[in-house]
């Protein structure tokens, strides 16, 4: 499906304005590939027609669908594995020790996609830190996409998704069959509060986080947006809390107030002291 330069420019401007996702020249193929299914499901004839409808979209519903179609939701259970080893062996034990007197932990996954990352963390906690059952655990997971938030809440995964990165032991323990699919058990779903939150928009009032997962989302933003988000994460964190970024992400040249922890390939950061 052909895409003319004017429409590409218009669509990238709207997507960037709504979500901070940057679509540079050369990404025309991506816009075409992602929006062609939407053109069909909206009964439109072409991307040009879609762009035309977007210009008239007062309710913002169509634009929200376009933004959703343009986000990359790629994820898996225990993605990259190392961060979760660091969480299990070092970060969570340390946080538990430090918060022993309050018995309270605040956790936030800021780009939860279809839920594999927050559920990985929930399983890791249940498996390794049973004492947290008696703590006040405030576990929030958010994404810009309404569809992804719903997928998180349902916790239903296809065979293909369940096969990716999830230890079989945990599958039999924390999932139940739901027809041809697999659903996370209610006990785990109830651990997490799933919200819609646009990282490039207004952030609601949040408790000061002990642990922030912000993986594989900053890469889609331009430098000023990355800087603002990294700063806002700091402002919403406990001074001794931890942030995890994706394997291809860094705070380097973006925010000098973070320091990278010396854990192998984990993308783990904390706020510098002083």
């Amino acid at each position: 499906m052909a895409l003319n330069p004017g429409d590409f420019e218009y669509i990238s401007k709207i997507v960037r304005g709504q979500s901070a996702i940057v679509l540079e020249k050369g990404k025309e193929y991506l816009v075409e590939a992602r929006l062609t299914p939407l053109v069909a499901s909206e009964n439109l004839g072409s991307i040009a027609e879609l762009a035309q409808q977007m210009r008239k979209d007062i309710s913002g519903k169509l634009i929200a669908k376009v933004v959703e179609a343009m986000t990359t939701n790629e994820t898996s259970f225990f993605r990259d594995i190392h961060p979760f080893e660091v969480l299990k062996n070092t970060v969570i034990p340390e946080l538990i020790q430090k918060r022993e007197s309050q018995k309270r932990l605040n956790i936030w996954c800021g780009a939860s996609s279809s839920g594999q990352e927050p559920y990985t963390l929930a399983m890791l906690i249940r498996e390794n830190f049973p004492q947290l059952k008696n703590w006040k655990l405030d576990f929030m997971a958010s994404d810009i996409s309404t569809e992804m938030q719903k997928r998180c809440q349902d916790g239903i995964y296809s065979q293909l998704e369940i096969n990716r990165g999830l230890p079989a032991m945990l599958m039999v323990k924390y999932f139940q069959r739901s027809g041809a699919q697999w659903q996370i058990k209610p006990e785990l779903r109830q651990m997490i509060n799933f919200k819609i939150l646009n990282l490039s928009g207004h952030w609601p009032l949040m408790p000061k986080m002990d642990l922030v997962m912000m993986r594989n989302v900053l890469i889609y933003f331009d430098v000023p947006t990355k800087k603002v988000i990294l700063q806002k994460i700091r402002e919403n964190m406990q001074p001794d809390g931890y942030v995890f970024l994706g394997a291809a992400e860094t705070t380097l040249n973006l925010d000098v107030k973070y320091e990278r922890m010396n854990f192998k390939q984990s993308g783990c950061y904390r706020i510098k002291e002083g």
Binding site: N163, P167, A168, M169, M171, V172, R177
Partner: protein
């Protein structure tokens, strides 16, 4: 590292063998559970066996049970790679001593991720 690929389908042995080679393994294959037990003796040791469930002569489940009876194979990881997708089957395989479980159809990515869960990734 060395892998034993066990499947009665020649095509699957070929594809799975290629995946494992790409992931850095030396590969030996077998067409059923009995052949696989023989290869453990003649061609071992292996770091991992990838095991189909439904095969003639001896099925993959019985292979797992038999392999786990012999302490010299304690360190070998066993990963089922099968079309059996019932929860009860997965539980049964794990209880018999399988370490991981992949439901067919598989991709190279899937196999790689499961291997890294077993501490067998080559970096």
């Amino acid at each position: 590292m060395r892998a034993l690929v066990i499947d009665d389908s020649r095509a699957i042995r070929l594809i799975l063998g290629q995946v494992m080679k790409k992931l850095g393994f030396e590969v030996v294959d077998a067409g059923d559970g009995q052949q696989a037990l023989d290869k453990l003796k003649s061609d071992g040791p292996f770091d991992i066996a990838l095991v189909d469930w439904n095969m003639p002569v001896m099925n993959g489940y019985d292979f797992v049970v038999n392999a786990r009876k012999d302490p010299q194979y304690n360190d070998m990881r066993l990963m089922m790679v099968t079309t059996e997708t019932e929860m009860a089957q997965v539980v049964k395989a794990l209880e018999a001593g399988a370490n991981e479980y992949v439901m067919k159809p598989f991709t190279k990515e899937m196999i790689a991720e499961k291997l890294s869960l077993l501490g067998l990734s080559i970096e």
